[in-house]
Symmetry: C2
Subunit: 327 residues, 2 copies
């Protein structure tokens, strides 16, 4: 099986589920706003992870669909609110929701998506005891996301952030929802605790690699593919791993210049370019790529618990995809 084709297949499946969920509801303005992000692209990686994790143990992924859908709704709820908190202009190449409808309507639409995720889970035909476990996975990961977001909001004003702080922050903001995705698939497939834990570690490590690659693409990606302005993290002064490493490695003059650009809200394109060159020259970009590879390899090691099958191969290939993708 070709991994990218398999990803595409589940993406279409989840898009149909989303379509079905919002059908007949769009006459209410709230639902129209709620449908905006889930209905406009995205890779649907989290449901994919759930479905393939379930299939890897149970040869069946059908039962896992409602949980996959819930994960995608939770992911989109976080995007709607993150865009407001980060004051981002573009998402998937289009103006962000709050830029279109204002903060109040966007906050509310995000809340609606969050509630809908749990509503989908409550109406699924998954048994009560498993729903309770999935509820713990999902709610714990959102608590972690909120902790990570709070740390991220504070990092922008803090120069003493080190690599460990950064990894902890992206673990919370990104990796825990990946973890909840793979663990949930394993729970639905009836796995034992050891299998569930290894699947969780697999996804957590892949999630960290995913976020490092995401930050890398923000610097060197193609705007048409990543759907936002290249260098937006520099414009916003984000303390990414690359920035943290560069500040460790650069001369004090170069460090000062980098901080100056990060703290300026109105940088020109040449200034953004200058900052990227500084990151490049410091070796921080290379370091970051290598660290993503290390987490990716560790993620694959966790899969030794999975019985051999084409699904296991997909889970392995997904890790490579995550650190090689260009969008």
């Amino acid at each position: 099986m070709d991994m990218v084709e398999e990803l595409e297949k589940r993406k279409e499946l989840i898009e149909q589920e989303i379509e079905e969920l919002f059908k007949d509801k769009r006459d209410h303005n709230l639902w129209e706003l709620m449908a905006f992000y889930p209905g406009s692209g995205g890779k649907k990686l989290r449901p994919f992870l759930t479905l393939v994790s379930a299939a890897a143990f149970d040869r069946s992924e059908k039962k896992a669909i409602p949980y996959g859908l819930a994960l995608e709704l939770v992911h989109n709820f976080t995007l709607v609110h993150d865009d407001i908190m980060d004051q981002d202009d573009l998402r998937r190449g289009k103006p962000t929701l709050y830029r279109r409808v204002g903060d109040a309507h966007a906050i509310n639409a995000g809340d609606g998506l969050f509630a809908l995720a749990f509503n989908v889970l409550s109406k699924s035909d998954i048994g009560g005891d498993k729903v309770k476990e999935l509820l713990e996975e999902l709610s714990s990961s959102v608590l972690k996301i909120a902790e990570g977001q709070e740390e991220d909001l504070s990092f922008e004003e803090d120069l003493d952030i080190d690599e460990a702080d950064f990894i902890e922050m992206i673990e919370k903001k990104t990796a825990y929802l990946f973890k909840a995705s793979a663990r949930g698939g394993a729970i639905i497939a009836g796995c034992d605790q050891e299998e569930i834990d290894h699947m969780g570690e697999y996804a957590r490590k892949m999630g960290i690699a995913f976020q490092i690659q995401d930050d890398y693409l923000d610097l060197v990606g193609d705007e048409g593919k990543i759907g936002k302005d290249v260098g937006s993290d520099i414009q916003e002064g984000k303390r990414t791993l690359m920035v943290i490493k560069a500040l460790e490695n650069l001369s004090s003059d170069d460090s000062e210049r980098l901080i100056e650009i990060l703290e300026d809200d109105g940088n020109t394109d040449p200034e953004i370019e200058e900052a990227i060159d500084l990151l490049e020259d410091s070796g921080a970009i290379e370091y970051s790529k290598e660290l993503a590879k290390k987490y990716a390899e560790e993620a694959k090691d966790e899969l030794s618990i999975v019985p051999d099958s084409e699904y296991k191969v997909i889970l392995e290939e997904l890790v490579d995809y995550v650190i090689k993708r260009d969008r």
Copy 2:
């Protein structure tokens, strides 16, 4: 039993549960912000409704505590976000959370409270099948709250709102969470569908009466007791039932003057007084009080399904309290 004493007892119980939940967590800034509203007063009416509803059928309310706690957390999450959306300055006599820490941190803290509510439910010792039912109650009611909030946000720009629109809006914004509270108590107590439905209707009708009284207190209440500026709804141009009725009854000159005040964001105290007098003279305040009484009576009628006990008496007296309270 004295209803107010009983309410106070459960309020203390839920406050202890909240204290316990946030203990050892407050070193993380997110949790500090999350604890701000749940830890600063409020009547804890929703948990009370759950606990007494459970006890009315099962003589025991202990099992219902985690769900009551979840309801209170959901309620507080909605308050945190509502204050941002409505740009309110005061809550329970203190500056609102977003006024203290900014929109981004407050949005995030609200999300954390929402996630925590479901997390509490997932970690309770309530059985899986009941958790699944409670999850549906809770998530459906938050979806209704978001719909109601969306309607409320649009109403401020709409002059054609009638009484039915208004009742539907407050039903969603307020009454559905009351409904989920009483239904949840009945579910936990092992009630049959008919009992659950009657308890839901009891609480829904009481919730409507509650909100009408809330709007009334905003106009004629004591600032020290209601914890916010009297007349804030007029300042914000809210289309309350009293405003809707007054616009139907007043002469066209008086109506125009009322609309002028509602649409002005910088009214002086005498202008707010003038608007209140117009509402009074039109008979709208009296009408509103009578309608609250009607809903309260209908709520009590639903209780005929409840076996006679001191808990039933509390449920009846709670209805009277809701429409007679001054805070």
